[in-house]
Symmetry: C2
Subunit: 349 residues, 2 copies
């Protein structure tokens, strides 16, 4: 029996509700499978922790996390209490960077039983590979002068290593998918980063002669998510563009509350972190009405990454069965509670 | 009788088709109104011009344009023949910058007769005010090292003047609209530019106590364009975020081929430039099937800016009548030609 040691950071807001629900589902899948089990270790890090200790996690937090196989995270942020740049850069982004989770994979797929807000959606099944370590999120820049003369400069830093890594990963995924990679660019407006991005893409694609490619500007691509999402297979995007496209991906599926994500250390040197696309949603936190599907589907991505594709498929199936049965939270147009959705998924497993 | 001297740059691809169509409509509206007329002067600038002369427009092009009241532009770019950074930065962006058209206004509105790709769109009517002179499009940055070590840096430069100008303009527009301004930010990920943007927004809004405000991260905002576009009135956004949101705006209306835009020199020191959101669409150019509505609606924005709101309203009415009558190009699900759409709008005036 394989035992996986998982660090759990439920975090803030609805993270505290959806994480325990997803863990129940994962435990049940493990029990049904019989070949593996989870050992969950909870860390109370997040904004509450910050308000008490003045930091989002202890100083040796990253070292602690390195002792686990993977990390299962809910959501971070309580902007009313802790400024975002403290909460996110002190926990979420700190872990992504510190544990070199340089690839963020986020699917957007029309699930059975889901009502897309699109009128006649053809069956779409997109995987966005988001560069997760640099680019627009480089925490580099500055401010100068003051008053009317003040200037702020934000530097987006793209390295060949980081860019190539994301692109190679996208092409590898496409091999096992529908052999198509789209690059998200904006080289007509951003004159240094994106021409570089395009050049690297043109070089990387030479290594994959069997994969078809397309290049779209991010503005057009955002529109295409609405007009023809079925046109895409794997999309490789910079940190910011991937961020925008994957919220859009959640939207066209029916709710951001569904969209799963994986922050991958593809070298498997450190643990990866599995965290849904949605945030802490303070407005609905504590009411028991949050949609647990994003977190549960994120659990499926963790299973896949651990090599348990069959168990992972079982989860996605159960999610779809539960949706087809109409057990849906408010964001999906239903009236079910988090617990009802969780129970319905458990039953469908 | 007031005569407006308009510089016409049809540009590339479908620009050459939709601009003459829109000019016919504008001339007819002027004739019906009786109080003003247009004097159109055509400039053959664009990619063909570049292939012949090695530049997108003559060196004194900006000086020439300054002698006109306004500029009416189609589309720029033929990426197969001329790299985008040459064609766009040598003409479109050069004019936006050179003539200090620092505000880009782009509506997204559910027109009568249009089929939105959204399933149950409530009536939305959004105006995006896009900062048009700096930010992410600052043409500042560089590259260093080579081969595996290569790095590209893109600097986004935000000045207080540019940021405040866009925000003030947004609040002024909101006064005559539904008294609501949403700021598009991403201060949780971009740690210098967007916190600055947020600070300026918080200061500027103090001047408009009667206007309600909201702040959304660009990823969420993109999703909201799909989930609840009716929630927005005026949105103020940086150059890049405005670019992305307005293509999305076109998409939820039914086609990017509809979306109009105005590059405004709000100080009226130099001419403004009226140019639709869509590009040159080389794939459908020359076939007579391009949608002229974006360009015609852009003409309405020019009329509004010239103070002829009544004539402008007449155009939008005619567009809607023609759509309700089902006269639509392929991008809108119809089978009409450009000429048929133009004639239908002319008749409806
Ligand atoms: C062509 C491109 C440079 C331009 C922009 O990004 O500004 C276009 O997308 C637009 O929106 O007008
Ligand atoms: C909270 C924020 C910093 C984060 C991001 O932009 O990466 C979030 O939007 C996400 O997509 O995971």
């Amino acid at each position: 029996m394989q035992t996986y040691k998982i660090a759990v950071i439920a975090g803030d807001g609805i993270g505290k509700e959806v994480v325990p629900a997803a863990i129940e589902v994962l435990d049940e899948v493990a029990r049904l499978d019989g070949s593996f089990q989870f050992e969950w270790t909870y860390f109370p890090w997040g904004c509450d922790y910050y308000l008490e200790h003045g930091e989002m996690m202890p100083e040796d937090g990253l070292e602690t996390l390195k002792q686990f196989d993977q990390i299962f995270l809910g959501a971070v942020g309580m902007p009313e209490l802790v400024p975002d740049h403290i909460s996110l850069w002190g926990l979420l982004i700190k872990i992504r960077r510190g544990l070199k989770q340089s690839i963020n994979v986020r699917p957007a797929k029309l699930l059975a039983g889901l009502e897309s807000p699109l009128k006649n959606p053809e069956n779409f099944d997109i995987t966005v590979v988001r560069e997760n370590s640099e680019g627009e999120y480089s925490d580099s820049g500055g401010r100068m002068h003051s008053g009317a003369d003040e200037i702020a400069i934000q530097n987006a830093v793209f390295t060949r290593k980081g860019t190539e890594r994301a692109m190679h990963y996208a092409f590898e995924l496409a091999k096992n998918s529908r052999q198509h990679v789209t690059s998200a660019t904006k080289s007509n407006g951003l004159t240094y980063s994106m021409p570089f991005w395009d050049e690297v893409f043109n070089e990387v694609k030479e290594n994959y002669p069997d994969i078809d490619t397309a290049v779209n500007h991010i503005d057009a691509l955002a529109a295409f998510f609405v007009m023809k999402p079925q046109a895409f297979d794997v999309i490789v995007a910079s940190n910011l563009f991937g961020d925008i496209l994957t919220d859009l991906g959640g939207a066209i599926m029916g709710s951001i509350g569904i969209a799963p994500a994986a922050n991958l250390n593809i070298e498997r040197e450190y643990p990866s972190m599995f965290e849904p696309v949605h945030g802490s949603a303070p407005d609905i936190a504590g009411k028991g009405i949050a949609n647990p599907i994003g977190q549960v589907w994120t659990g499926k991505m963790m299973l896949d990454f651990l090599g348990h594709q069959e168990a992972g498929a079982r989860i996605l199936n159960a999610i779809e069965q539960s949706l087809v049965a109409g057990v849906k939270t408010g964001d999906l147009g239903g009236a079910s509670s988090l617990t009802e959705v969780k129970n319905s998924i458990l039953q469908s497993l």
